[in-house]
């Protein structure tokens, strides 16, 4: 996103910048549950809004699948496609999505996403505090 007016949003941008440093990562994004982009870093021809919508759809699909089979809460969904790999993790603000090259190593990306999700959740809680007060 071009304008990030608050300190918290800069924190979100920094988190995405760190993700973009992982080999093979082409895009990082935080999207709301409704599929709207909150922050994004893109190095692909993929459309930001379409990616945000996809992050929400994938997250909800994964959560619904696990609910249907009665096997816990969603931690992560990975879709391997011939052109890209999509990884979606739920966070307090919605969903964190990373797009990588199709053959990028999965485990370093997943490890970095877990750290990023923790940072985002911290930022999300801090954002929620003033409203709660």
């Amino acid at each position: 996103m071009s304008s990030e007016p608050t300190t918290k949003n800069r924190g979100m941008g920094d988190t995405l910048d760190a993700l973009m440093g992982v080999p093979g990562v082409l895009a990082g994004m935080v999207a709301t549950d409704e599929g709207l982009p909150l922050a994004a870093r893109l190095r692909t021809e993929l459309d930001e809004e379409a990616l945000a919508a996809a992050a929400a759809v994938l997250g909800q699909l994964g959560a619904r699948t696990l609910k249907d089979v009665g096997r816990g809460e969603l931690e992560v969904v990975v879709l391997d496609a011939s052109k890209f790999r999509f990884v979606v993790q739920p966070v307090a603000l919605g969903y964190l999505m990373v797009v990588t090259e199709p053959l990028a190593e999965a485990d370093p990306v997943l490890g970095e996403m877990t750290s990023a999700a923790a940072c985002l959740d911290e930022a999300g809680s801090a954002l929620a505090e003033p409203r709660a007060a």
């Binding site: 009665g70 096997r71 969904v77």
Partner: protein
């Protein structure tokens, strides 16, 4: 050839739409009017009406679908595809948009993508006869039963498109055993398009047919990738704190493998891919 009365009736209908839109230029019924004009072959008028309506209601997904239909009838396939994708961006479950994209894929010989699109249309609108008919067409005719009847499993598994050529029924067990024996895998099964296991054992899951939810996930994931233009679905991984489920589509079948807790994802993928590659190699050797 339409008979004279039908044409006269339809002309009255067109006049009625024209009057309605003159009275209420903001009406969403511009899409129906444009669609009627298209069916009459009045493509230029249809295009003008639809463009005017979409200028007022750019987020009206059905209007986008109709615009795509006018464009495809005008020989502009790429522009039509873009309109249907816009419609799905606005309403991801629009059955007619999925149907039209499926028809376009089918015309290009992209059968897997077409099947995924028709299945998604039916997922959102199970009683959609046009999508059902197109799905049957995309999957190929049944040699033994009339159209519409479910085919027995053995027949379906012989049908191209239901499974890769190398994965003959006598290899199901070998593939599943190979995957289940991987260090990172707890249980493995091969499931048909309804989610019922045709070989192996599914991980313990709730629900009537335990594999139904993962199969439904794969259908929607394929459609999502198609909308994004991200290519063919190779596999999916769904993880919770108690289950890591790797799903690999193999035509109309899917290999479902529950990974052991804390297994490295990359290592598990390599092991599963090696089993699949082994099956493909054995077919090559026999040939």
């Amino acid at each position: 050839m339409q008979d004279v009365e039908a044409i006269a009736g339809s002309r009255e209908e067109l006049q009625e739409y024209r009057r309605l839109l003159t009275r209420d230029p903001d009406s969403l019924r511009f899409a129906e009017y444009a669609d009627r004009l298209r069916r009459f072959g009045q493509l230029e008028d249809a295009l003008a009406i639809c463009q005017g309506g979409l200028a007022r209601h750019p987020a009206y997904s059905t209007g986008r679908v109709v615009m795509g239909e006018i464009l495809i009838d005008s020989g502009k396939a790429d522009e039509a595809e873009a309109e249907w994708r816009r419609a799905l961006h606005l309403d991801p479950g629009h059955p007619r948009a999925h149907l039209r994209l499926g028809e376009l894929y089918l015309s290009r010989g992209e059968t897997d993508q077409a099947i995924a699109a028709f299945e998604t249309a039916l997922l959102h609108s199970p009683e959609f006869p046009e999508a059902r008919a197109k799905l049957a067409e995309a999957k190929g005719p049944s040699p033994t039963l009339p159209a519409g009847e479910p085919k027995p499993l053995e027949d379906r598994l012989r049908t191209p498109g239901e499974r890769p050529e190398w994965l003959t029924a006598d290899r199901f067990g070998d593939l599943v055993q190979c995957v289940a024996a991987c260090a990172c895998v707890e249980t493995a099964a091969l499931a048909d398009s309804s989610g019922s296991p045709v070989s192996g054992e599914l991980p313990e899951m709730a629900g009537g047919t335990a594999g139904e939810a993962p199969m439904s996930f794969l259908v929607e994931a394929r459609a999502l990738l198609s909308r994004l233009g991200a290519g063919r679905l190779r596999s999916a991984l769904i993880c919770s704190d108690t289950l890591s489920l790797r799903c690999v589509p193999l035509g109309g079948l899917a290999l479902l493998a529950a990974l052991r807790s804390r297994s490295p994802v990359g290592e598990a993928d390599e092991q599963i891919e090696e089993c699949i590659a082994g099956g493909q190699r054995s077919e090559g050797n026999e040939a």
